[in-house]
Every structure is written in C-alpha cells, then in structure tokens.
C-alpha cells in the first residue's frame, strides 16, 4: 500500500502532462480511446456469450456453465497478469503510473447488496455491462433494464443522502 502511494507520487508528477488528460477522458483523444475500449469490451462480452440471454438461466439451473467458465478463466488470466505487472513493476503506457489497482473494501451492505444484485441478474438476464451490449444487438428489453439501473442507483444515493443528513443534524 505504502509502495503504491509512493509510486503514485512519482508518477503523479510525470502524469501532469497530456497523459493524465487522456486517461481521465478529459481530452478528445481520451474520449475516443474510452469509446473504443468500451466497444472492444462490449464486443468481447458478446463473443463470450454474455449477451445471450439463454446462458443465464442455464447457468443458474446448472445446465450449462459457459458464463462461469468465462468469469473463472478471465479472473485467472487477470490474476496471472496482475502478478506479472506487480513483480515487473509495470507502468501504464499512457501516464506511466503503476499498472496496479487496489481491491474494493468491505462495506456494510456488501453481502445483502450482492444478493439483491444476484436476484436482478437472474431476473433480467443481464448485468450492467451486458445490458448495454445487448442494446447494441437490438435486444430492446435491455432499455427497461438500463432504466432500472439508473432508478436503483438513484434510490441508493437518495437513501445514503438521507442517512448523511440524519447523522449530521
């Protein structure tokens, strides 16, 4: 952790130039870059079968583990790559910052939240990334699912806001 902070300080100075603007999507090149990366990710989700609705019920009925293989192998490849990046002290190509990231922390709602997410995942046959890719494939039901993402995200923010206000006054 301390190592990351130290590296970030050094890289932060190096990344003051155009690199930081590109990787934060603040320049025209950066916007096109992330648009292209999104398109590549959406394409790969589709080719992985993650935009084919039938694979979701088949997974959760234990009939076809296609999507479990996708996740498990992707995580395995990512794990090996992360170890190589860590040991070789790899830096990012654009901003020369350490090619590492911090794990997401424990939070109070994590377990119930993940169960709620799973209920929606199985009900709508999509997750946030795949619903967007499905939209591009003409699977119009994803329009409702995406509207639901925004409503659900907003409801969470609204509730958290209430809590903050109640705690503050």
């Amino acid at each position: 952790m301390a190592d990351i902070a130290k590296n970030d300080g050094a890289a932060g100075a190096a990344a003051q130039g155009s690199g930081a603007r590109i990787v934060s999507g603040k320049s025209a090149i950066g916007r096109i870059l992330f648009l292209g990366l999104g398109a590549l990710f959406g394409f790969l989700l589709s080719r992985a079968g993650a935009t084919t609705y039938d694979f979701y019920p088949r997974l959760f009925l234990f009939q076809d583990l296609q999507l479990l293989w996708v996740i498990a192998v992707a995580a395995g490849v990512g794990f090996i790559g992360n170890q190589i990046f860590r040991l070789s002290k790899a830096r990012t190509l654009i901003s020369a910052a350490p090619a590492r990231y911090q794990g997401k922390p424990w939070k109070k709602g994590l377990v119930p939240g993940s169960l709620i997410f799973g209920l929606g995942w199985g009900l709508a046959g999509a997750c946030p990334g795949t619903a967007l890719a499905m939209l591009g494939e003409g699977k119009l039901g994803s329009l409702f699912t995406i509207a639901g993402f925004l409503i659900g995200t907003y409801l969470h923010g609204y509730r958290q806001n209430k809590k903050i206000q109640a705690g503050g006054s």
């Binding site: 603040k26 293989w69 794990f79 993402f149």
Partner: protein
C-alpha cells in the same frame, strides 16, 4: 416475440481468456481497472443535485467511465453485424426467459425494470458489479470481491430456480 438477434459466441474458456486479456490491456494502457456500474452513478450525477452524486467518486461525473459505457453498445452492434444471422430489434429474451416472463409488453417492461432496479441498488450497496467484483476483484483474489461474487451467484440461483422450477410447480407460468 420469438425473433431475436443470434450472435455467434466462442467457447467459455476462450471468452474468458479474451476478457481477462482485455482487463489487463485496459489496466496497462490507462491505469483504470475494469468496472461498469459506477458509471451509472456518474450518469445519475448529471440529472440529480443530490450531494451523494457530487462527492467522493462522483465528484467529477464527466470522466472516462461515461465514454466507456457509451462505447459498450457500439461493441454489441459490431458483434451483431459480424454474426451470420441478421440483427433483429425485438423485446424477446430468447426461448427460456420468454417461457416464464409475461408476454404482454407493459408487464414485461415492469419485470425488466424491476430487475434493473435490483441490479442498480445491489451493485451500489456491494460497491461493484460482475465486472468490478467478479472480474477485476477476483483477479486480485480480493476477499470482499470473492464474497460479493458468491452473493451474486446465490441471488441468481435463488431467482432462476424460483422462476423455472417453483413457479411451474405451483402451476403459474412455465
């Protein structure tokens, strides 16, 4: 209702290698780990003045995540156009879901929106979705991400078993 775009897909392990490689490519190029659901919080910040959507990771909502989530549908479009079967715009969810979900569009829309609400709330409560927790997080063997991924699967199993096994047994749907 049964017309739906049929995209080609690779074997699961090949898709996994492709997505795992993508994760590393994005990381080594830009320094940002893969994640999608936070981007929906950024979109909320554009329409809402709630302080929640203007502090912490939502302080600057016009960030890379926005462009990334706009790009994903383009990728789906390219994937459909490069598949041998034609692109069909329809509200079908394929034969399995079509057999259990309501056929009437308003009711189906309600179910799908409800599913989306659960996904949106759940991902914010858990701090990530299948991309952030089950791909980026599992690739670090990060314990909270392992727990969240287990929760995602448990929820999926519960609802799908209910839809496809419990409801038909009760004589509803199926």
């Amino acid at each position: 209702m049964n017309e739906i775009t049929q995209v080609i897909y690779w074997q699961g392990w090949i898709g996994g290698i492709a997505i795992g490689s993508y994760l590393l490519f994005q990381l080594v190029l830009t320094g940002h780990p893969l994640g999608v659901s936070t981007g929906f919080g950024n979109v909320c910040g554009m329409f809402s003045r709630l302080p929640f959507f203007h502090s912490g990771k939502y302080e600057d909502n016009f960030n890379w995540r926005l462009w990334f989530i706009i790009g994903i549908p383009l990728g789906g479009l390219i994937a459909a156009l490069t598949s041998p079967e034609p692109l069909v715009a329809s509200f079908s969810l394929g034969s399995l879901y079509d057999s259990v979900l309501p056929a009437a569009l308003p009711l189906r829309a309600l179910v799908l929106t409800g599913g989306g609400v659960l996904i949106g709330m759940g991902s914010r409560m858990a701090g990530g979705c299948t991309s952030g927790h089950s791909i980026s997080g599992l690739a670090m063997l990060n314990p909270p991400s392992i727990a969240a991924s287990a929760g995602f699967f448990a929820g999926g199993i519960i609802i799908v078993q209910f839809l496809f096994n419990v409801l038909p047994a009760l004589g509803i749907g199926g």
